[in-house]
Amino acid sequence: MFDQFDPADDKMLQVIDNNGKVVNREWMPKLTDDELVKLYKEMLFVRTLDFMIVSYQRQGRLYTYPPNYGQEAIGVAAGAVMRHDDWLVPAFRELGAYLAKGVTMNEIFMFNMGFEDGMRFTGANHVLPFSVPIASQLLHAAGIGYAVKYQKKDEVTFTFVGDGGTSEGDFHEALNFAGVWKVPVIFVVQNNQYAISVPVKMQTASVNMAVKSKAYGIKGLKVDGNDIFALLAAFRSAHEYARTESQAVLIEAVTYRKGAHTTSDDPTKYRTSEEEKEWDLKDPLRRMKLFMEKKKLWSDAEEERITEEYRKEIDRQFVETEKSVQYPLEDVFKYMYAEMPQDLRDQQIEHEKFLQWKNARR
């Protein structure tokens, strides 16, 4: 696959077109009808959850949130390929992958409500916390790659970054370390065309992002990031290659952030509605749905029914989370160190004395 779609020629792997028609039979993953439905439902769930979180934010019930709208296929496809022991080193816009690895909605809600407790990821194996300093997490993935190779474990690491992140030094250091060390790490660039307001053409003079792999002596692939089948094929190939050859891979998934960068952003300021409409035709759910409808595996009625079901369940869990969260003072201190210094303990005690005084005044 890597030779067939050489990023130096700016080739892009695509399996279905905008109308859901298979245009590349060779790379169409073999999926049963049940698997197809499951995959679509996962994307639909992510989209529904994402919309709901944005609406909770608009209602003032949680803080800033980075919407996944338009990019759902990437996280879902990665999640479908990752095994229990594989590692996920996230940025912050890969909702489908978190859920697939066992991160709960409750944790996502808590995180965006402003509780570090949301990053406990209690039921998720090998998932690192979200990483906000752009591209810095890619080095963690390279380090995990080194560790699993040293420990002779069969574990592949998936890590994510945006198109803007490819300008950071850590992006290049991570690819370089992973290339030199020959470690099984899959670096995924979600090229959603914008780093907040800055268009991708202002990030790089390269013909695409995937071609940067060449400089580090690793394989690279540009894939249609709104094409769930192309993504599945790409991630499966990359996973197999990384695992068996102990090598790193750079995958550029070309997509479009239909929503805002975060709920604090207003994309109408920096892009046109014509551009947005053009990308609407490439929407990942729309394309898969057209494919499914042709196979009589899906219908609008079904979509409405399931979406309503999802909405009810999401809201039930959200309300439950809202009721249960708390942030005791001790949590501010207790996780700073594995072994807490006395001085920090004293700072807590000092503050508690103030609180006692304050309460006594009432």
């Binding site: 990483s131 300093p133 080095l139 390279a142 040293y150 072994e339």
Partner: protein, 325 residues
């Protein structure tokens, strides 16, 4: 027992931990094959193999960032930054991840990482090879900062640092790497992090120092003794967490406190010692607490460095002024 300098002692501590714990890996620029530019890791690659003691690509952020992933996956990386002046590309990984992962993941991912950092001036080196920036790091929540001044403490503190489940910045006073030899046990032993040591008992004034400055203070103490002043010398050994108890007890005893450090004076470790004297021993003070530290300037190039470095005479001068206040 064996006669060791600080370089030998650090090498010995690494040797012991590499032998004992398969999760320990050692890497950095030139740290593998050559054994580091100061030869601190010499012989370890040959003994433990290239998978455990190795040269990394030349990228400090990469070295620190990959250590985060290794630690998350169960290793205990000991990474080397070649010089204090070269650590800044790694600053983001240190302040944004190494020191935050434990808190961010609510205790799920520990960061048992040791960052070895040769620091300090007085070696006639180029720019970026002489600085002493401990305060930058002591200010970061989530980090522990250690500075030995003797071969014995270098070995014992490094063993503690590698065994610590928290990240430790292990600062090595390169000016005295080979200046002192001491009989050090070849067995495994540890020196606790967070405990200062009273090196000399005295009654007139407390001097707090660490690293390469200890020797300079000791030279000043010879002059002080001749002048009839009794100096109590405390070797901090750990900057954070600060051993407030030992320092406070000493200030209460002598009533006078001088900090000696080669870092820029303002907003430094010395400032913290001054605040401690104020907070905990205010009514015991017989003289204003004093800082003898470097100017707030970039370390001058070798021909000008003598203007900058703290001399024993200067320390004695401040001892006398404080005692006679």
């Amino acid at each position: 027992m064996k006669a060791m300098n600080i370089v030998n002692a650090i090498n010995d501590a690494l040797d012991i931990k590499l032998a004992e714990d398969k999760n320990v890996v050692v890497y950095g620029e030139d740290a593998g094959f050559e054994g580091g530019v100061f030869r601190v890791t010499e012989g370890l690659q040959k003994k433990y193999g290239v998978e455990r003691v190795f040269d990394s690509p030349l990228a400090e952020s990469g070295i620190a960032g990959t250590a985060v992933g290794m630690a998350a996956a169960g290793l205990r990386p000991v990474i080397e930054m070649q010089f204090c002046g070269f650590i800044y590309p790694a600053f983001n990984q240190i302040i944004s991840h190494i020191t935050r992962f434990h808190n961010r993941s609510r205790g799920r991912y520990r960061m048992p990482i040791v960052i070895r950092l040769p620091y300090g001036g007085g070696i006639n080196a180029l720019e970026h090879h002489s600085e002493s920036m401990e305060s930058l790091f002591a200010h970061i929540p989530g980090l522990k900062v250690v500075v030995p001044s003797t071969p014995h403490d270098a070995k014992g503190l490094l063993i503690s640092a590698i065994e610590s489940d928290d990240p430790v910045l292990f600062m090595e006073p390169k000016r005295i790497y080979r200046a002192i030899k001491q009989e050090v046990s070849e067995e495994k032993f540890s020196v606790p992090i967070g405990k200062a040591k009273v090196l000399s008992q005295g009654t007139d004034v407390t001097v707090v120092a660490y690293g390469a400055m200890i020797r300079e203070v000791q030279k000043a103490m010879v002059m002080a003794k001749e002048a009839g002043y009794s100096v109590e010398l405390i070797d901090l050994r750990t900057i954070y967490p600060l051993d407030k108890e030992t320092i406070t007890a000493s200030i209460k005893k002598t009533g006078r406190i001088i900090f000696v450090g080669e870092e820029p004076r303002s907003f430094g470790v010395g400032s913290e010692i001054m605040a401690l004297a104020n907070d905990e021993a205010f009514l015991h003070l017989e003289a204003p607490p004093k800082r003898v530290a470097a100017f707030d300037v970039i370390v001058p190039y070798p021909r000008g460095e003598h203007h900058y470095m703290i001399s024993p005479e200067k320390i004695f001068y401040e001892i006398e002024r404080t005692v006679k206040f």
